[in-house]
Each structure stands twice: as structure tokens, then as C-alpha cells.
Symmetry: C2
Subunit: 350 residues, 2 copies
């Protein structure tokens, strides 16, 4: 099959998997078509009987939007592997098959994460030269955003997987954040010589050999993640998943305490009302809806996972991101860099 | 030597290593003596010529406070192993030697972390049955606090090390947070069957065999860390160090954004002034000074590491924590549990 990205340029949208149901997905599609005139064409995958009435009010040219029927839905409670086996006609599986068969380039889904990642990994092969896919996420930091990779796909990573993550993350950063030569940091625990663990020591050595390809800024420790040090944070899927979820938990805890303290007496409450704009602005700045999807990278074709509870705005952002990935020929460029990196890594250390 | 904790009941305080200098440490000692009448006796370790004038205004009975002279100081810029080799008469090294020689039970220091951990690990042996010490930290969460262990001492942990961390952390949680039977969670990436990495799968299996000793609540993922799920979070030193430092970085980033937004226009600024009490209360709730020290556990004797920039209040808290550790006979009780755990782990799985 060779490369798949850009083959058709279509975006396959799983219309059935999100918490808010197909109406929210259709609304997101409508908004995306309106907001982005040059958007890549979309194939909505799901139950035709449900989708057709919803599409009645969506103004579009016929080639912009088609339906691909799928009779089943993978729910949030389905066990990933079981879902793949039992629900072969689910919107999620069918959407991925469209990419596999070359009828679409990217899948957007807010369905069951485990099932989506398993289906993506099992149904789409990895790119030439890549052993394991990685999940990327865009995270706000001081004066901008960074790409975290891997946010959970590959918890038992080897050094060469992390080098591939650096390449995958750099390209995603370029496409999504518009940074031409993103600075890459390797997540570790103190930047002194000999700090970290065995995986990090070896990965650091490999990254130093690929600086032609990767703008490697060196190791980065926890203290600096939300400062303006790097644009791509590379880690294994175990560390990445724990980090990103614990950050979400911390923001929730912090916001909850703040809300509680602001309501503790009437003077504070009036003050809070006056400075309401600040809290809204803060919420907007850390709003994950702006970069609605976390892509599974390193596959022949891309899968953009949006949060299960995504609303129309988040899904619209994910659809837009899918379009940008296709237009930037991201996967072709990644494949070229992976091939060069593998050549460099194959040379024994002098 | 056998156990050391409780041998003398003295607290050796490194008077020279903190960013704010010996005057701040002496002031912390003065406050601790005043606030805690039954405090364990203290040996201040440092330059006698510097310390004696500072002590002039500290009211105490002679047996409550003595000076142990040390002519050198390990600075924040010293390389850990070099410092140990070259600065044999430093306050840090001498304080640890007091524990080694049975003249003190716990060291409190706000000096160079790397040097302190290296000195502790190399000069004090690990407890019977424990292969690697672990760094514990008390972290605020919804409706209380939890103990994170390991926060950075052992980045390449084996499953049995994590079981030991669970025991060390449970005892520290009991002593510091007053929770009789703390719930222990194993940090991982999703609580479904088969999630995590090889280390977690094996550790989970071992912890299930030691439920007589450890109140094991099962795996815990990032989403739940700051909720009220568990009292002790067990992880290896790599993950723990990244988590705790990235949380500090995130709180700083979040607070900075909030401050910026609150000052963005005059109405917000007035509102912020009115609700100032809320921000102060929030700061107090997440104030690390309340639990000034992070102990290095699993050694014959304990080392309490306070932040380099600790002020008198933080150092006072660390001294108080040292006293509580000694009074609770913490190390004797840990040694007994470690022995029982090692017996349980030695039995092959049926």
C-alpha cells in the first residue's frame, strides 16, 4: 500500500462514538464546513437512518459530505479487543477500514479510547520503519503550547521508539503549532550527567546522533515543562499518560479549591464576580477544545482521538486538525525522516 | 548496628546548607523549641564561630541544644559525589555521621539534594531487607493530603522495591498524616486488566500477596491522583520525580496566568483585591511549608530533606516531623513489616 496520507484527502468522521451522540458530531461538521471553506471532504460513518435526518439542515455541496453506513456502535463500556471482534460493523471500525482501504486519509473519533487505539494499531499497519505508534497531545504552557508524545500508546518503550516519537512529535508540532524547527526535550529527572534511568541514558545518546533531523534541546525535567523551554516533550507512554492525566486532575483540584475559597464569604464572592472575566479568560487559555484531537501517529494513515465528552467545538477543531495533517503531507515527510533516522541509528557508535 | 532510629532521639540539624543561611535555621530551631515543648533534643551542625553568636538569643536548657562543629559547607553548585569526597568536614556530612555513629536519629537539612541523597545512601546503610532507599513527599489533594513515594531516589526500580515503597510510605503516612491504615494506590495508566507496563503488572501481583501488611487499594491512574482515592501513591523514582516537579511547574504556570488575567483591567483588579483572602487561603492550602521535609526512607536512620529555599517555618516543620518520626518508632515498625513482606514475597506463587 505504501503511504496512505493524502491518498484521497478525505476525513472519515466516526459519527456515533461520542458521549453527546451523533447530533453533536453532525453539528460540528456543519460548523467546520462553514468556518473552513477549503476543508477536505468528509465521510460521516454511522447509522444512515440516524444521520440522514440530522444532515437535512446542513448546507453543503454533495462532494463535501457523504455518509458511509455502519450499523453498530462501540460504547465507552466495551472492552477494546472484544469490541473489535464483536462489532465489526461499528462506526469506529468502519471508519478505520476506510483509511485502510485508501478511501480516507484520517479518522476523527471521540469514541472509546482503548478500542480506537487497538483498532488503529491492529487494522492499520505502522509506517515503514516505525515499530510502535504514539499518541500526541497539545498542552498549553507559558507563552504557547507544547506537544507531548507519547501520551499513552506505548508504555514499554525502547530507545529507538523515543527517537521516533521525537520525529513524529516534531512534525505534528510543525503542522499544528506552526513552529518550523521545534525544540525537542527528553523528559527525565534532573539534567545533570548520569541522571535518569537506563532508557533515558540510551535515548539521549541516540538523539545526540540525529541532530541533523531533530532539533534536540537535551533532557528536560519536570520543573521546566510548563515554562518556555521546549516545543516537543518526548517520553514513553507510561510516563506521558500519567503526566497528562495527573495534570488534568491537578487543574480540577486547583480550580475546585479556588471556587470554594471564592464563595467562602460575600465580599470574596462579589470580588469574584467583578473579576469573572479573568477566570473565563484563564479557562479559555487552557481549553483543550482548541486542539480537539490527540492523534495516534506512526501509522499508515492517522487517527485523531477527541475526548469522549467532546462538544461540537472540540470535534470541529479535530476535523480542522485532520485537514491540516492531510494538507501538510505530514505522513510523507515523517516517513522520509524516519528512514534517515533509522540509517543514522544503524551506524555503530564510534 | 541494628536499628538506629530512637537510639538517642537526637535530631541533627545541618545549619549551613540552606539558601537563606544559618541565621534562618537557628531561627527555625528557636521557634520549634518554643512551639513544641516536648521536642527531641537538637544537635546543630555547622561552624561554631558562626552559630554561637546566633544562638545567643535562643532560650533553652543546655541538654536541648548543642553545637557540633563542622568547618565546611556543601553548596548548591557542588557536584554530589565530589562534595562527599572533598568536603569531609562539611555540616551535611558531619550531620549524617552523627546518625551513623549513633549520636543522632534523624538528620534535617535544606542543603544540596543530590549530595544529601548520595551521602545518606553511601554513609548510612539501608535497613535490613531493603535494597534501595526512597524519597517520600506529602502532597495536598481534595480533602487532605497523600504521600507520594518514591519522589526521585530510585529511578530504575524493581517490583520488590515498589512493595517496600508501599510499606515505607504507609508508615510515613501514619506518622505524618495520622491515618491508621492508609490506602495504597499503585500509579499506572488505566485500571483495566493488562494496562500499565511490565514493572506495574508484576508489582500489582506482589502487592496482592501482601494485603495483610499493606492496605492495597489497587492501581490508580493520573485522573484520580488529586481526588480522594488513596493516601499513599506508589511509583518508581523516575515517574515520581517527574510527576511532583511537573505539578510544581503547572501550579506556577496556572498561578502566573491567573495573576496576569486578574491584572488585565481595573475592574478585575478591584475584584481580585476584594477576593484576596481566597487567593491567600488557596496558597496556604497548597503550602509545602506545612510538611517542610521530604524524608529519605529505608535507611538506618532517617534523612529529612527540606527545600533549598526553605524559610524558618518550613525548617521548623521539618524539625517537628523529625521529632514525630523518632517518637513513633517509625523505623522499628518499618523493619518488622519489611521482614514480613520479604517472607511473603519469597513464597513462590501457587
Amino acid at each position: 500500500m505504501g503511504t496512505t496520507s493524502g491518498q484521497t484527502g478525505r476525513i472519515a468522521v466516526d459519527a456515533m462514538g461520542g458521549d453527546l451522540g451523533p447530533a453533536e458530531v453532525v453539528e460540528a461538521v456543519r460548523l467546520a464546513l462553514r468556518q473552513y471553506p477549503g476543508l477536505n471532504p468528509i465521510t460521516l460513518v454511522g447509522d444512515r437512518a440516524v444521520l440522514e435526518p440530522l444532515l437535512a439542515r446542513v448546507r453543503r455541496r454533495p462532494e463535501q459530505l457523504t455518509i458511509h453506513h455502519a450499523s453498530e456502535v462501540v460504547t465507552m463500556d466495551d472492552k477494546p479487543l472484544m469490541a473489535l471482534k464483536r462489532k465489526k460493523d461499528s462506526s469506529m471500525v468502519r471508519a478505520i477500514e476506510l483509511v485502510k482501504d485508501g478511501q480516507a486519509s484520517v479518522v476523527v473519533s471521540c469514541g472509546n479510547t482503548g478500542a480506537l487505539m487497538a483498532a488503529g494499531t491492529l487494522r492499520l499497519r505502522t509506517m515503514e520503519g516505525v515499530a510502535r505508534p504514539a499518541l500526541a497531545a497539545v498542552v498549553p504552557r507559558q507563552n504557547g503550547h507544547f506537544v507531548l508524545i507519547d501520551a499513552g500508546a506505548n508504555p514499554d518503550a525502547k530507545p529507538e521508539h523515543l527517537v521516533h516519537n521525537a520525529i513524529l512529535g516534531s512534525h505534528y508540532c510543525r503542522v499544528m503549532l506552526g513552529i518550523a524547527r521545534p525544540r525537542v526535550g527528553l523528559m527525565t529527572i534532573g539534567t545533570e550527567e548520569g541522571k535518569g534511568n537506563a532508557l533515558i541514558t540510551e535515548t539521549n545518546e541516540l538523539l545526540r546522533r540525529t541532530t541533523d533531523l531533530i532539533n534536540y534541546a537535551g533532557p528536560i525535567e519536570g520543573f521546566h515543562v510548563f515554562a518556555e523551554h521546549v516545543d516537543v516533550v518526548v517520553c514513553d507512554g507510561f510516563v506521558g499518560n500519567i503526566m497528562i492525566k495527573s495534570w488534568e486532575s491537578l487543574v480540577k483540584f486547583f480550580s475546585g479549591m479556588l471556587r470554594e475559597e471564592l464563595q467562602a464569604n460575600p465580599v470574596r464572592a462579589v470580588g469574584a464576580l467583578m473579576s469573572k472575566g479573568a477566570f473565563n479568560a484563564l479557562r479559555e487559555r487552557i481549553n483543550p477544545e482548541r486542539y480537539g484531537g490527540a492523534p495516534l501517529l506512526g501509522l499508515r494513515g492517522n487517527i485523531l482521538k477527541a475526548h469522549g465528552s467532546s462538544n461540537r467545538r472540540a470535534i470541529k477543531s479535530a476535523i480542522h486538525a485532520a485537514s491540516q495533517i492531510i494538507r501538510a503531507d505530514m505522513n510523507q515527510r515523517i516517513e522520509a525522516d524516519i528512514a534517515r533516522a533509522n540509517d543514522l541509528l544503524a551506524v555503530p557508535v564510534a
